[in-house]
Symmetry: C2
Subunit: 364 residues, 2 copies
Amino acid sequence: MTQPQTVDVPLEDRSYKIHIGSGLIEQLGTLCAPFIADRHVVIISDEKVASHYLPKVESALESVTSRGNSLVVDEGETSKSLDTCYQLWQEMIELPADRKSVVVALGGGVIGDLAGFVAAGFARGIDFIQIPTSLLAQVDSSVGGKTGVNLPQAKNMVGAFWQPKTVVIDIDVLETLDDRNFRAGLAEVIKYGLIMDDALFTRIESSMEAILNREPAIITELIQRCCQCKADVVTEDETETSGRRAILNYGHTIGHAIEAVYGYGEYLHGEAISIGMVAEAEMAKALGMVDDVFCDRQKAIFESAGLPTTCPAGKEEALIEAMTRDKKVASGKLNFILPTKIGDVESVATPGGEAIAAALKACS
Amino acid sequence: MTQPQTVDVPLEDRSYKIHIGSGLIEQLGTLCAPFIADRHVVIISDEKVASHYLPKVESALESVTSRGNSLVVDEGETSKSLDTCYQLWQEMIELPADRKSVVVALGGGVIGDLAGFVAAGFARGIDFIQIPTSLLAQVDSSVGGKTGVNLPQAKNMVGAFWQPKTVVIDIDVLETLDDRNFRAGLAEVIKYGLIMDDALFTRIESSMEAILNREPAIITELIQRCCQCKADVVTEDETETSGRRAILNYGHTIGHAIEAVYGYGEYLHGEAISIGMVAEAEMAKALGMVDDVFCDRQKAIFESAGLPTTCPAGKEEALIEAMTRDKKVASGKLNFILPTKIGDVESVATPGGEAIAAALKACS
Ligand SMILES: NC(=O)c1ccc[n+]([C@@H]2O[C@H](COP(=O)([O-])OP(=O)(O)OC[C@H]3O[C@@H](n4cnc5c(N)ncnc54)[C@H](O)[C@@H]3O)[C@@H](O)[C@H]2O)c1
Ligand SMILES: NC(=O)c1ccc[n+]([C@@H]2O[C@H](COP(=O)([O-])OP(=O)(O)OC[C@H]3O[C@@H](n4cnc5c(N)ncnc54)[C@H](O)[C@@H]3O)[C@@H](O)[C@H]2O)c1
């Protein structure tokens, strides 16, 4: 059996540990004891994840608290809304939850972002614990403290930086994750290799079969390495002010535009950024930053992971409009994170129209 | 003419200055220049305050930015809601505001709390500046970073600790503040004397006529001293974890219950805590912590300020129920901040029923 791994996220008084391994839900009591210590617990989950794991989590936490409630919302991105927050806050008052209550987020990125923001806003901020269950949440969204919800006009527009007290990643739960969501999570795993860890990239290239078979040893290793990458970036730039954290957005400028133009739900986030990375690499090539070898190698890994690398043609103008709108809201400028080689990226401000055209051509 | 005063709030990278004086709105450009520097500004105000001061503030800020918008909400506590936040966030996206935009809160405590939380949540937190216009906001709510909104079941239940970049207090705006709100603000001024500054208390006692005439010299002095008190407490306990910040809640346990039982609006907050302090002093007396002299002197100062010291009898049970509910949500325990002498208080956990009965008898 694979040994559990840990990754530290050192953020002064907001520091925490990420635990990664098999069978960790059974050990939740021990792992969470210091953060719960008989306090009231509110588990927030979605219908699907709850049906698989809520009873196990509830019973594992019984050893550390006698007071707990579970609040379950619909599955899917539409639950990441202010309306759902409002509803959860009201339900928490009725329980009643108090300033000492601890929120436990049990689910994918939707639940982590939602429950994190619910914890950040309740009584001006209460503790919370992440138990991410999708691969995307395990390697990305559960680490780093970005929480929030969508507004009808823009994703993740309302939120807070609110760090969890700990993150418990039980790889066994991936068993029930459908293939499409598993592959979408892989897109983020590959992204870490591309932006900052060439050895990780090579490891994924050479282990794709074992990864797609979800063999525990390689899955634990990948998640541990991704969490370490994310922790390094977050430690350097906790609140996205120095610019360092922006490297995580490789593939995201075009990826977000694809999500917006084709409608959320048509492409999963991981699928959209897979296409986005392919397109943005073409942009980098047009700017002379990478060569054909880079682009081919990157495309090949996404293909071997079963991820899409193009989307239907004919939406170029809509994509440009969506990118412009997205960035106006986010920062006032149209920046791209572009690769220079496997394991390294640079920020490029407003590349010329030709490079953008090359990118859009490549993805359609 | 009275010289402008400043108070520092030293909170590491969240430190800021409070400016207090006459004619400061005209100097807003200079005072806010470092925090705006040509960035997009969103002024949030209420109908009444906007009608008096919005054009002045807008024109004063023209010297430091060419891009600004104003969003005006209804006056009154009902605007401190998630619905209003939702509406403001949507309006901000339409402008569009971005991560670099700066929110300016122009109004009383309702606007400061609301606009502060809007700033805290937009794009996971953008800068904001407080221009408090009610006496309560000038001596209390604009300093210290508590922001938030009410849920139907509980006041200030959703929010964030989010410090302003600076606070600009122009005492001239008090000219248009009605007498009742001015006196309600005085209740907080007197509270600072009672909890931590006996010299301030004596000064208020001996200057009540000049204060009620709103003479600029004494008003500037009082606001400066109150802001210094608040800054000291906040510096020691920014996020209400050590317990020190709780001293600001003298009079508030019973005060909040009075607001809840009689309906928000029946009593202004300052009026409710005036009654609350009178009642809680009686509780302290029942516990042998203060004597008759203390209680009489405290009651006399509230009376000379034209503040209520009792409310109609017959609601004792409802008050106790409201206190219990309030505190369950807030901390799980029924704590009181009780005086030991003028200028000093102590926290007392769940005093016995007799002391509570004495308190409730005293306020009805
Ligand atoms: N906070 C951050 O830093 C960050 C980073 C990246 C993405 N995100 C956000 O994450 C969200 C996407 O996350 P996601 O892809 O996990 O979406 P998700 O939470 O909707 O999960 C995807 C689907 O998988 C199901 N599921 C999750 N775990 C399962 C399991 N173990 N077994 C069976 N089914 C399971 C869910 O019920 C859901 O239907 C987006 O809202 C995105 O904005 C946040
Ligand atoms: N954040 C904190 O630390 C803190 C502390 C204490 C109170 N509060 C909150 O503050 C709020 C109460 O503040 P408030 O009493 O200022 O209420 P408010 O903002 O509603 O102002 C009271 C009334 O005075 C009007 N007004 C304000 N300034 C004026 C001026 N210069 N001229 C004419 N009219 C003016 C307003 O339009 C309003 O009608 C409550 O919601 C309370 O919870 C917050």
